[in-house]
Amino acid sequence: MQRPRPSQHRPVSSVLPGLGATSQLLLCLTLVVFAQSQSENPRVTALIREGQSAIDAGDFSHAVQDFEDARQLAPENADINRGLVLSYLQAGRLADAQKIADFAVGRWPRDARLQHWLGLVYFKEGQPQNALQVLQRSESLNPDGSDIHFDIALVYLSVNQYPLAADELERAIKTNPNAALPHVLLGRAYQNTNRTIKAIEQFRAALRLDASIPLGHYHLGFALASLGRNQEAIAEYQKEILRAPDNPSVLYQLGHCELATGEWKSAVTYLRNATQLDPKNADADYDLGKALLLDGDAKGAVIALRQAAALKPESPDPHYQLARALEKTGDKEQSQDEFQIFADLKKAQPATGGMATGPIQ
């Protein structure tokens, strides 16, 4: 079963609050700049203010309309173009956002914020290389902008460039040491490059800054578990569960740790919850099968392991467990069949690199 190994963390978007939310947070902060902008045309000034208010209220369609109207009146106004890029970006109209941003960046090439937002547009469009290029230009124009470092790091994380992401996050933290989220992401970048001790330091730093930061305890628990410190990990997962009782990822990891420490009944409870909340999580079904088997419920284990095998047909691991569970139920024939499937799937797997069981990077 390909459950995440200690050093193979999931992509940032799978377990963190969505990138959109993160970007939204940063973008909203920048609106303060607009609030101070002025125009000689009172109508234009009013439209800009209405657009800002609409963005603040999350009414991006309205914001688009306001800024489009303003742009008809003053197409060369930088604030209006910025507002329009933001509005389209937040409204998810990426093509429109890019069109305006391309124009604006050409018109005001030394505007770091426009470069920044164009980079975000590219990022949201799934063009990380273009995003990086533009974001780095923005960074060169505003080297002290912690949000730019942060967003560059997000792009790096999205393409699994963990060392580079770590560099950017370290810069972001240097310029703004009191934000908790960069510490979490830096911890994850460290964890994904096997610098687990440093990762733990970062997760703890994030939790000191914001004890309720989403998934802070989760990531700390994961890092601790990767060092075999299961009891500490369980304590962290349980704190996270208090904050987010229905998060299947947390339930899964908690169940996984309980399984590892021999608390099979408790593991079954958490893992069953995880499978119910996320029926496509093959890892949870697999661990549930293992826990049931160890707890003496071989028949229950067979059901869960068949589900795991169905969800991950290419993985040999569920078949190995299934063979053992079937043996326990007395079904020797099917057990041997499963051992054979396990062996066949094993052969089909590519040779893993590096020493022994060390993770492939």
């Binding site: 079963m1 190994r5 200690p6 050093s7 460290y190 490059t193 096997n194 610098r195 687990t196 001790i197 440093k198 990767s226 060092l227 075999g228 410190r229 299961n230 399984l259 590892a260 420490t261 021999g262 293992k290 160890l294 040999p316 691991d317 078949h319 190995y320 467990q321 053992r324 043996e327 051992f339 396990f342 062996a343 094993k346 040779a351 893993t352 690199g353 590096g354 020493m355 022994a356 069981t357 060390g358 993770p359 990077q361």
Partner: protein, 581 residues
């Protein structure tokens, strides 16, 4: 406070103090009853293990470290043999490296007797096996090298003769690691299994850091074993006339030439026929079930010991067996690479095993550690087998990164609390166990015949550790030496059952286990508060059974096949007999 004997060596005393200071505040209010002190230097063990250059650019530079405990002169005291490695430069320059033999002086010290012993083969050594292959009552030695192996016959006068060619066990051109004597066909003569690791050509060594199999966590390291050709293990059948026959192909041993490292003979299903477990690196481990007719069936996958609990290959290093939960069936401990848990395969009594390393609190703590030697022993004589694990990474380069993994690592000592649970107490067991080493082989022995099990541990590029057990609150004990008659003379493979104080313990006689090493072949039973042994039953490999009635505790019994106890030897505890400074 742990009492400090009056004649504590200065080095050990200072370490002891350091350990006390290092104890985390509030973690351990009461002093630990477990204590080990390194007495190697004051005991006269002046050996330095050479194993390649410090950078460890090639795989063979990380795998040395065989240690053996044997009573080569039959004086009733365990002596020491330490295998030495070499370096590329020394191999090319013809500089000789030999192992060293230390005679036990019975006073806590040892004397280097290598020069007159005849143990003079020069080479890059790795593992060592001990066994009386010719049943003459004197222990012989088998040493594996990078390009072969040597069998030394014990001449009964403190000297040995190289009989490799005559015996036909040269393992020629192969890089042997662990080896183990065991009588797989119960014909009364010890056969020999040799684990071979990698087929290595010193003239064409794989380039450090070059290629996908020369990386660890994205950093360049020595290459292998993946990507290198494995060496096929060898099984030599003892013909009973001083010669052996290679039956590897005939018995289909290791057909895939996996990377062999750990070897263990055991009778896991109690059918009276020796089985064989081989820990392989990065490939499935193998469990050969003996069919009582001189043949084997490989059953590792079905038995649940070939892979991790998740069906993944592991980097098996060392392996040992004992009945850790006293349920009458032998279990298996195996060490693995870092990022992976060590295994504690519980015997399910039906031919299958379940890895209980996690629930037993043996596995999770081991994850950052790279384990090699592993040994069951009863450190406090409470009747429950504890576990020692020698750790040390293979890549010194890891120290340049904050991986949470270091090159030198502290050993792990697990105290068995019964009920299937262990607690890792290494940090509470004296400064010698709190320090970090690049440790490899490990052997347990009652070197001082005082009823306490001590440890001998090899360390790459350093002197070994001779860890004297100075734990308080020792229970009573019983030591049994087996002498086979129809069975092999050592009694290897005999299953001994001891009942005392309401507890029944079983142990199987063997010397060779762990990683490249051999331990005290005398069985050691901790008896807790029981001051009488109720009964002893010996199941000999020949099928014979000897039953012995009540016995006093705190003594050594010699039990001869067909005769029972032949020479009870009272052993007065010698708690203060440490070597002089």
């Amino acid at each position: 406070m742990v009492p400090i004997p009056q004649r504590m060596p200065a080095r050990a005393q200072s370490h002891h103090s350091a350990a006390q200071q290092a104890t985390p505040k509030g973690r351990n209010a009461a002093p630990s009853p477990i204590s080990f002190v390194d007495i190697a230097k004051p005991a006269g063990i002046n050996f330095h293990l050479t194993c390649g250059d410090p950078e460890k650019r090639y795989i063979m530079e990380s795998m040395c470290g065989g240690v053996a405990v044997l009573d080569y002169d039959n004086d009733g005291w365990m002596d020491i043999f330490l295998v030495d490695g070499s370096t590329l430069a020394d191999v090319q320059g013809g500089k000789c490296h030999t192992g060293k033999l230390y005679h036990n002086n019975h006073d806590g010290t040892f004397t280097d007797v290598t020069a007159k012993s005849g143990l003079s083969h020069c080479g890059w050594g790795f593992g060592v096996a001990v066994g009386d292959y010719d049943n003459d009552g004197w222990e012989d030695l088998y040493v594996t090298y990078l390009d072969g192996a040597v069998l030394y016959h014990n001449n009964h006068d403190g000297t040995f003769t190289d009989v490799t060619a005559k015996a036909g066990v040269g393992n020629l051109g192969r890089w042997g690691t662990s080896a183990a004597f065991g009588d797989y066909d119960n014909d009364g003569y010890l056969d020999l299994y040799v684990a071979n690791y990698v087929d290595l050509d010193l003239q064409h060594l794989p380039e450090f850091g070059q290629g996908p199999f020369c990386q660890y966590r994205q950093i360049p390291v020595s290459c292998g074993p993946r990507g290198l050709k494995g060496g096929r293990d060898r099984l030599y059948h003892n013909n009973g006339d001083g010669t052996f026959t290679d039956v590897t192909e005939k018995l289909n041993i290791d057909p895939n030439s996996y990377y062999g490292l750990g070897v263990l003979w055991l009778d896991y299903d109690l059918d009276g026929c020796p089985d064989l477990y081989v820990a392989n690196d990065s490939t499935p481990s193998m469990l050969y079930h003996g069919d009582c007719k001189g043949g084997f069936t490989e059953v590792g996958v079905n038995a649940g010991v070939a892979y991790s609990a998740d069906g993944r290959e592991q980097a098996g290093m060392g392996v040992d067996s004992s009945d850790y939960d006293n349920d009458g069936w032998p279990d298996i401990a195996k060490t693995n690479f870092s990022d992976d848990s060590n295994n504690l395969f519980h015997n399910d009594h039906n031919g299958e095993f379940t890895d209980m390393a996690g629930p037993a609190d043996f596995g999770p703590v081991s994850i950052p550690f790279l384990g090699f030697g592993v040994k069951f022993l009863d450190i406090d004589n409470d009747g429950w087998k504890d576990l020692f694990v020698a750790n040390g990474h293979v890549n010194p380069q890891v120290d340049q990164y904050a991986f949470g993994v270091t090159y030198a690592e502290r050993p792990l000592l697990f105290r068995n609390f019964g009920k299937g649970k262990f607690e890792e107490v290494g940090l509470k067991a004296g400064s010698a166990l709190a320090r970090r080493y690049v440790a490899r082989g490990a052997a347990a022995a009652d070197f001082f015949n005082d009823g306490r099990e001590n440890l001998l541990v090899s360390v790459l590029d350093e002197p070994p550790l001779l860890l004297r057990n100075q734990s308080r609150k020792q229970g009573h004990w019983l030591r049994i030496k087996t002498v086979g008659k129809r069975s092999n003379r050592d009694g290897f493979g005999a299953r001994v059952e001891v009942k005392a104080g309401g507890l029944t313990q079983i142990e199987e006689v063997r010397a060779n286990a762990g990683f490249e090493s051999a331990s005290d072949p005398r069985l050691h039973f901790g008896l807790g508060s029981a001051n009488l042994v109720d009964s002893i039953v010996v199941h000999w490999p020949s099928g014979a059974i000897d039953r012995v009635g009540q016995q006093r505790t705190d003594q050594q019994l010699v039990i001869e096949e067909g005769k029972g106890v032949v020479t009870p030897q009272l052993m007065a505890p010698r708690t203060g007999s440490l070597p002089p400074n």
